[in-house]
């Protein structure tokens, strides 16, 4: 890369992009900086210079990359909480150590945060002075023509039979035509172009700060919440309706936009993979109706990759399954429980696990725990599996029945999808005298001990969905696009200076051309040659 004759032309400095002292294009640091006068201010200044140097930025970047590695080696609380629990069970000793180090929450750990905060302080300390200098540079004139162009890049000489004035004016027109900002110094034209490169660089680095700030602060105003919605039931957006809810730090109830959603139908389509015999899901579509206050229900479809926008809230389809409708009656035929119960899929053929709790209306509290098989097949050991995800008349509900205190009155919230059987007695199933209850649709079975009956009344679908509200998402996207745009501009717009010097030479003129790269510029030599050619052509056309 060409070294600039900067020391010989000190006025040039005003036009330079300001760079940290150890930037390859910057002047070497003056002696005073390497050995500061160490008063408290001196220390502070020294420290600040160190922090905002290119070397520090580089080391912090590399540290950031390194510090992110553990976050991929062990499960993270934020993205894989079950994995963390499993890790603890499998390796209790290493878990202790790693957990103390914060490795299971790498990306919010003190060490990771320290690195990126330092990096961003350094970044701001770098951007601010450079922005100021760049704004000045945008108003500055192109630099004086160096005395000896022959030392610069792409130096070219030619002669022409014309007068000095004509040649200089043609030089001005040539450089201007090539997009240079030009200035005449005696009999030479100085041109500079590519200010956009530094602009792009500053936009890029500023947008990095923008992303960090919007993600860090803006994300706190939103929330995510999960809900299982069973066919023909509706969900209304309020705190109490969610199965689980994760508010951001600055969340208030106002962020919950009023709307309702009802699941009308669900379709899953599958394709049989002949080589493995497995069904591959091809498409999931939930047919919904949605309503905002004061309007009527309107139809909407929800698919896996296309969230539904409800005002500023997005709704995602996470999962789906079957919800058998069961009716439990007491010996007199009075209904103790009736309704659809979501069974959670356990495999690709939708063998599904579910729990039915009947706390009231019978002599005992009852809990049913069992499987639903959409397309059942009995195995040699008497257990069942499902051979396809398609339900039919043979779809089977197989339930083990427990009686005892279900623990629903204790006031603690209990998971609707699990049954703690520790304090319960099995009264139908492998450990009881009565075998497990097996029902196909429409069938009714007697409960043991004359407790009543259970009927498999019908079959419905359910979907599990996530609602997501993040008011700053658009800003994050905007900054991300600025990052990309700034990057492209700063990497691919060349910033260069070009000079054309004219001097009288016998009957004609002697023309000198040379360029200077500001940053990476592989095309500079070709550009100088091109300018020389265009200039010559312009002089020729003027004569003829």
């Amino acid at each position: 890369m060409a070294s600039a004759p900067r020391s010989k032309a000190p006025t040039e400095r005003s036009g330079d992009p300001h760079r940290p002292d150890d930037h390859i294009d910057a002047e070497p640091a003056a002696d005073g900086i390497a050995q500061p006068k160490l008063g408290p201010v001196g220390y502070l200044r020294f420290f600040w210079r160190q922090l905002t140097s290119m070397r520090t930025a580089l080391v912090l970047l590399l540290l950031l990359a390194l510090a992110a590695v553990p976050g991929s080696l062990v499960p993270q609380r934020s993205s894989d909480p079950n994995g963390v629990i499993q890790y603890e069970q499998n390796n209790p000793d290493t878990f202790q150590v790693l957990d103390a180090l914060g490795v299971f929450s790498t990306f919010s750990s003190p060490w990771f945060s320290a690195i990126y905060l330092l990096l961003f302080i350094s970044l701001v300390g770098c951007i601010l002075p450079r922005t100021k200098h760049h704004l000045d540079a945008l108003r500055a004139r192109p630099p004086k023509t160096p005395a000896r162009l022959s030392r610069l890049v792409g130096y070219t000489e030619q002669t022409a039979t014309t007068d000095v004035e004509t040649a200089v004016e043609a030089a001005r027109a040539t450089l201007r035509g090539a997009g240079y900002r030009v200035e005449r110094y005696r009999d030479s034209i100085s041109g500079e172009r590519g200010y956009l490169r530094e602009t792009g660089n500053l936009v890029f680095h500023t947008a990095l700060v923008g992303v960090l700030v919007t993600v860090g602060i803006g994300g706190g105003f939103g929330y995510t919440g999960q809900k299982v919605i069973i066919q023909d039931t509706s969900f209304t957006n309020s705190l109490a309706s969610y199965d689980s809810f994760n508010p951001g730090r600055f969340f208030t109830d106002d962020a919950l936009e009023p709307f309702s959603v009802r699941l009308d139908d669900f379709e899953g389509s599958y394709e049989l993979d002949p080589s493995t015999g497995n069904y591959q899901p091809v498409d999931f579509t939930a047919h919904l109706s949605t309503r905002t206050p004061g309007t009527d229900w309107t139809d909407a479809d929800l698919k896996v990759n296309s969230p539904l926008e409800l005002g500023g809230t997005k709704m995602y389809l996470l999962g789906n399954g079957f919800a058998p409708v069961v009716t439990v009656r007491d010996p007199d035929g009075e209904v103790a429980f009736s309704g659809p119960v979501a069974f959670l899929p356990q495999d690709g053929n939708l063998r599904s696990l579910g729990v039915i709790k009947v706390p009231d209306g019978l002599d005992e509290q009852l809990g049913f725990l069992g499987y639903f098989y959409p397309d059942p097949l009995e195995l040699a050991d008497g257990t069942y599996t499902s051979v396809s995800p398609h339900p039919g008349t043979s779809s089977l509900l197989s339930l083990t029945l427990y009686k005892g205190d279900l623990g629903l009155d204790a006031g603690v919230s209990v998971n609707a999808y699990s049954l703690n059987v520790d304090n319960l007695t099995q009264i139908a199933g492998p450990k009881a005298d009565t075998p497990a209850i097996q029902l196909t649709q429409g069938q009714t079975a007697e409960l043991p001990d004359g407790l009543g009956t259970i009927e498999f009344t019908g079959l419905q679908r359910f979907v599990s969905v996530e609602f997501h509200h993040d008011p700053t998402e658009g800003w994050v996207l905007l900054f991300a696009l600025l990052i990309l745009g700034g990057l492209l501009v700063s990497l691919f717009v060349p910033r260069r200076r070009m000079w054309i010097a004219v001097s009288a030479d016998g009957d004609g003129v002697r023309l000198e051309y040379a360029g200077l790269a500001r940053g990476e510029d592989p095309g500079l030599e070709a550009a100088v040659a091109d300018v020389a050619r265009k200039h010559a052509a312009r002089l020729d056309s003027r004569r003829t």
Partner: protein, 321 residues
């Protein structure tokens, strides 16, 4: 034709392309072995005092020729190898087209398909860069790498054409993954150039004259400049990959960023290359240290594609073998 026969023809084309690349590799190696003697024979360019005269102007001192090209002309072996590389590439692309028709979608939805598309892109980038600048001297590295990867892919991770799970049915998948592959192609070439740069720099110190073929290579500085151009284009694609991936994640999972394993590695690679770009602009870091960063960056890309895909758990895991 049925899906199965199309897929079978596609696989056959993959084998053929790999075989042609191996032949090209041999050609490049022959070229390398002859490079040092040809380098000695190469003459310094004569500098003309008057280069050309047009109309009224006379050019006195022509601009110096660009230094990035190797000082020696390509041998016949290199030209044959290059032609074979083009042939292999055509067959390779044909394999992709057949696979795409068989699956009725873009052919980069599982690891086998990533590998076949990714290697095609590596070769494509190499061929395209050769239009602008002669980098045939890294042909042995490119064809060697690509035939090795193709062999590993067909032996270890071959899968038949299967339909896409709903979570992968997205225009963003097509874009995100393809741009990631494009970035990978540039990083692969950049790493080759950086390796050559390191070896050349060691030779230039005078400590050793091995390997001798480096005599016919450009100077370490010219190699570094070319590597930088190539890596920077890769970085731009990688930045886009990161953003497109976040948009896709937002559509599919309801959050644009969640530090999922694959996201972590995409981020690490991005930061390493940002470090590389900084190193090039930092006093004391230009030259060998920055070249090492480019190589580490590409190693991380390969790691991300192989080890992370196969052994790490995460949401991306279902993109499948």
């Amino acid at each position: 034709m049925t899906t199965a026969t199309l897929a079978a023809y596609s696989l056959l084309a993959v084998y053929s392309a790999a075989a042609v690349y191996v032949l090209a590799f041999i050609g490049y190696v022959v070229d390398l072995s002859g490079r040092s003697s040809r380098a000695l024979a190469a003459q310094p360019a004569a500098s003309a005092s008057v280069a050309s005269t047009t109309g009224t102007t006379t050019v006195l001192a022509p601009p110096a020729p660009p230094t990035a090209a190797p000082e020696v002309r390509d041998s016949r072996a290199a030209r044959v190898a290059f032609a074979l590389t083009v042939l292999g590439f055509v067959i390779h692309v044909l394999a992709l087209v057949l696979r795409g028709i068989a699956a009725a979608r873009a052919p980069w939805a599982n690891m086998f398909e990533f590998a076949v598309t990714g290697t095609a892109v590596i070769v494509g980038v190499y061929l395209a860069v050769n239009i602008f600048r002669n980098v045939r001297y890294v042909g042995a590295y490119i064809t060697g790498l690509v035939s090795l990867l193709l062999m590993l892919a067909t032996i270890n991770v071959y899968v038949d054409v299967v339909p896409l799970p709903p979570a992968l049915q997205s225009g963003w998948l097509v874009i995100h993954v393809f741009v990631a592959i494009l970035g990978t192609g540039f990083f692969a070439l950049g790493a080759g150039l950086s390796i050559a740069q390191l070896l050349q720099a060691r030779r230039e110190t005078g400590a050793t004259d091995q390997p001798r073929f480096l005599r016919g290579f450009p100077s370490s500085e010219a190699l570094e400049n070319t590597a930088y151009r190539v890596n920077v284009i890769g970085f731009a694609f990688w930045t886009f990959t990161l953003i497109a991936g976040a948009i896709w994640a937002e559509h599919a999972w309801g959050r644009y960023w969640g530090w999922d394993t694959k996201e972590v590695w995409t981020f690490i690679i991005w930061v390493v290359f940002a470090g590389y770009i900084h190193a090039r602009a930092t006093r004391g870091w230009r030259g060998a240290p920055s070249a090492w960063l480019a190589i580490v960056g590409f190693a991380a890309v390969l790691f991300n594609f192989t080890v992370v895909n196969l052994f790490f758990k995460g949401l991306h895991a279902y993109s499948g073998l």
